[in-house]
């Protein structure tokens, strides 16, 4: 069959560093192919080049047999049938689904006027054709993440795309949502669409794609047929060595020591569509990891916000050691030694327009080692930051680079480096710490958390990845509809029981 995409010897440089080093990729019509590679391997860049967002330095591209010029815009790419769903969704939050879908393609409705009903009907028809359960009239900000992503896909469909590029679509999805997405992708494939998907999860590569291109440090390391390879081989090709999975050595029961942090009856006022906390009771222990599992949108966000002190409590209190906190401000929570790794690293974790150095120093602006009389001691601070950059393997090592220019996974490492290296860490609250990280980075995050546990820190892990929760937690708590349904030892907490609590049921 004819090749839908032909990328030959693509080179893309960012300054002196080479993000894509002579990469070739051909994709057949109607094929689903995966891109796999460590954080910063150049996957997003390669797709940006194809989509016309980045100008390639050399190499050639043909789409459906048409040779593309050296420089072309996403608009041109779209005209050639390419659509891209980005790693971080690009929707207008205050617009409705229909408005978002039509935006930029208005002339297809009418040459002059934007006709709302007509748009909504067109988008609604598209939804029902592919069995997507989305109301075109609903406002995007009110939708859960999985639905927002489907709106991005709707945009692509509306423009009649022949090639769909998805950059890490599953990182923000629950397993159920991922399954639904894959079903959808298979139906697109059946309709003749070509799909390129980026993911860090090896089992997803095996499940959805027929071939996989593995990138390593900007080069094409290998290309495999998924039915002729194994997950272990993929992982080894990707990082150049084999991985050992981090796992909590021996899960400990918590009854034998008093809790270091007690959350008592935490409640927050309902605001918008986010789930508030409703009487959350949870005990945390020094030297233990308590994992909070649950379907996204059951109060995880509010829980982290409360502990970070950015959302006010409407009831309840937080007992840390001998201190009882009722008015939680971010200042006091930090003073108690709470470090936060928030779920939305772009907004809550980082100042994107700042450099790595500045982002890290923001967390150490009161540290006597680096600040004297309110003025930074630059030499010491710089040395410290580059040391962290080494320990956390932040790439590139140049700490003056702006964080917005880094790959998603390396951005997360900056947050981790800042939050987990302070000497006065007592309590660590981590929310979705490994979203978007590659297998190697996930392992290093996990071993960092385990090291903190060894050191006797109190750790609260919130994750929608159940495997992560099970591998790391001493105790598992399940958040359902804004309150803790159950908290118990991880050992012997069967998957079925966990699933039951997550769905709002109870064991009998």
């Amino acid at each position: 069959m004819k090749n839908m995409i032909e990328m030959r010897d693509i080179v893309k440089m960012f300054g002196p560093s080479c993000a894509n080093d002579h990469i070739s990729l051909s994709v057949k019509k109607g094929e689903i192919i995966s891109l796999l590679g460590e954080n910063g391997a150049g996957k997003t860049t390669l797709m940006n080049v194809l989509f016309g967002l980045c100008r390639r330095d050399s190499g050639s591209i043909a789409i459906d047999g048409v040779e593309m010029p050296v420089e072309y815009s996403p608009q041109t790419a779209i005209e050639h049938g390419i659509a891209m769903v980005h790693q971080h969704l690009k929707l207008v939050e205050t617009f409705t689904v229909a408005q978002n879908v039509i935006l930029g393609a208005e002339t297809m409705v009418s040459r002059r006027l934007f006709r709302r009903e007509k748009c909504e009907r067109a988008v609604g028809a598209l939804c029902s054709r592919y069995g997507m359960d989305i109301d075109p009239k609903s406002v995007v900000s009110a939708l859960p993440l999985g639905a927002k992503q489907r709106v991005e896909i709707l945009k692509a469909l509306y423009r009649g795309c022949k090639v769909l590029i998805l950059d890490e679509p599953t990182t923000v999805l629950t397993p159920q949502e991922t399954d639904a997405l894959f079903d959808l992708l298979r139906s697109f494939q059946a309709a003749g669409m070509t799909i390129i998907i980026i993911t860090h999860k090896l089992h997803e590569v095996m499940a959805i794609s027929s071939r996989v291109l593995v990138l390593r440090q900007g080069k094409a390391a290998a290309i495999f047929n998924t039915n002729e390879t194994t997950q272990a081989e993929l992982a080894a090709t990707m990082i150049g060595k084999t991985l050992v999975k981090a796992q909590v050595s021996a899960q400990l029961h918590s009854h034998d020591c008093p809790p270091s942090v007690e959350l008592r009856g935490l409640s927050t006022a309902a605001a918008g569509d986010a789930c508030p906390l409703r009487d959350v009771n949870l005990n945390l222990y020094a030297g233990r990891i308590v994992g909070v599992a649950g379907v996204d949108g059951n109060g995880q966000t509010a829980l982290v916000e409360v502990l970070a002190g950015v959302k006010k409590l409407s009831g309840g209190s937080i007992q840390i050691g001998a201190k009882e906190i009722k008015k939680n401000t971010s200042g006091t929570m930090r003073q108690e030694g709470i470090q936060i790794i928030p779920e939305d690293r772009h907004r809550q974790g980082l100042v994107l327009a700042f450099s790595v150095y500045e982002n890290i120093m923001l967390g150490y602006r009161k540290d006597r080692r680096f600040v004297k009389d309110g003025v930074f001691r630059k030499a010491k601070a710089r040395q410290f930051v580059s040391q962290l950059s080494n320990t956390f393997d932040i790439r590139p090592r140049d700490t003056g680079i702006l964080v917005k220019r880094m790959s998603g996974g390396n951005q997360q490492k900056v947050v981790l480096a800042r939050e987990l290296s302070s000497p006065d860490v007592k309590i660590v609250v981590v929310s979705q710490p490994t979203r978007g990280l590659d297998a190697g980075a996930i392992q290093s995050v996990h071993s960092t958390l385990l090291k903190l546990r060894e050191e006797g820190k109190t750790i609260l892990l919130i994750s929608s990845d159940l495997d992560e929760i099970k591998a790391l937690s001493d105790e598992i708590a399940i958040l359902y509809n804004g309150s803790i349904a159950v908290q118990r030892a991880a050992q012997g907490f069967a998957d079925e029981a966990i699933g039951l609590y997550m769905g709002g049921g109870k064991e009998v």
């Binding site: 970070a308 971010s330 930090r334 928030p342 809550q348 100042v351 120093m361 923001l362």
Partner: protein
């Protein structure tokens, strides 16, 4: 380290190049306009620059409040706040300094001037702090409130100088300040030690934002408010503080001119000093050191403008148009790049030859 330095320099150089390019283009466009109305651009521009360089001390004197007016925009902007009230803050500061300077406080020279400046800054801080407070407590848009305050302040100041603080019966001006409150000038030159204060403040502001913890906090509050909140930074307080600082600095500009130049407050004298500050801060990309340069540039064309009406009969508003053109060209993103690539496309052959030779 070395690469970092060169990267910084190339960034700054590119910025400077962009400003220079916009200015050249604006002057060229202005020349076309002048020719269209039958004037000789060379005479006009010649007159402007002859005056600006000929009385460079006047240029420096005018640049003093302009630098501070630019800082008054740039400081709040770091926290994401817009202080459009420079116009009112400058005149309020000027009048305050004139009134304090004219009252007999029994203070020695120097201290009296310092007291007048401090009083002016306090008034300025209140004038910009109030909109700041309304913003953080009630969400009132500070662009609107500061702009509105300009008119209110301007009428109040006019009334004050015509009534309680009247200096003469013939013109709207305040009493002359006491000699102890005067800021000395450099010999017979037009500018005073106030220039050094303004320069020092620009440098200090730069150091503050680059090297101090509070400065970093303020920039974070502006560039990433959510992340700043998670890090325990009190954004609202910092926004308020930055606004107050902005107003204080603007008022100081007015005070320096009164104490070091006019020695009394003359109504209407400071027209447009505040709005020029917006242009100055914008051209400098809000960089405190860049503001020194852009304030000088704006000061030059403003001083030069005074000359053209006298020597050539051209309206001084011509330079306002020129200034507007510069700003428009600067805000047009990638304007310079587009022009350059057009030029390159027109003369591709020569470029190839160069490439071949190299």
């Amino acid at each position: 380290m070395k690469s970092k330095l060169s990267r910084m320099q190339s960034g700054t150089l590119r910025e400077l190049g962009r400003v220079a390019f916009a200015m050249l283009f604006a002057f060229a466009a202005g020349a076309v306009f002048l020719m269209a109305i039958g004037s000789n651009p060379l005479t006009i521009y010649g007159a402007i620059f002859a005056k600006a360089f000929g009385s460079f001390d006047s240029t420096l004197r005018r640049a003093t409040p302009l630098m501070l007016s630019g800082l008054a925009i740039a400081i709040p902007l770091q926290t994401g706040m817009f202080n459009m009230g420079g116009e009112g803050q400058i005149i309020a500061g000027a009048l305050t300094a004139a009134v304090v300077g004219a009252s007999d406080l029994g203070l020695p020279a120097g201290l009296h001037a310092a007291a007048a400046i401090a009083a002016a800054m306090a008034v300025g801080a209140v004038l910009s702090g109030l909109p700041g407070l309304l913003k953080i407590t009630r969400g009132a848009n500070e662009v609107v409130t500061t702009l509105m305050l300009n008119s209110i302040v301007s009428y109040i100041v006019t009334w004050l100088v015509l009534n309680p603080f009247k200096g003469t019966d013939y013109s709207p001006q305040s009493k002359k300040i006491l000699p102890a409150a005067e800021i000395p000038t450099f010999g017979k030159l037009d500018f005073s030690w106030g220039l050094l204060i303004a320069l020092a403040l620009c440098v200090l502001t730069h150091l503050f934002f680059r090297s101090t913890a509070k400065g970093l906090e303020m920039r974070a509050a502006g560039a990433g408010p959510a992340a700043a909140r998670y890090l325990g930074i009190n954004n609202k307080l910092l926004c308020l503080l930055a606004m107050a600082l902005g107003g204080a600095v603007a008022s100081m500009g007015g005070a320096l001119e009164v104490l070091g130049g006019q020695h009394a407050y003359f109504d209407e004298f400071f027209t447009n000093y505040g709005f020029d500050g917006i242009a100055i801060a914008y051209m400098a990309g809000s960089h405190p050191l860049g503001i020194i340069v852009t304030a000088l540039i704006i000061s030059m064309i403003r001083v030069g403008a005074l000359a053209i009406s006298r020597t050539t009969g051209m309206s001084p508003y011509f330079v306002t148009m020129l200034q507007g053109l510069i700003i428009i060209l600067l805000v047009t993103p990638r304007f310079a790049g587009t022009v350059l690539s057009l030029v390159r496309r027109r003369f591709p052959a020569r470029k190839k030859e160069e490439g071949g030779a190299a």
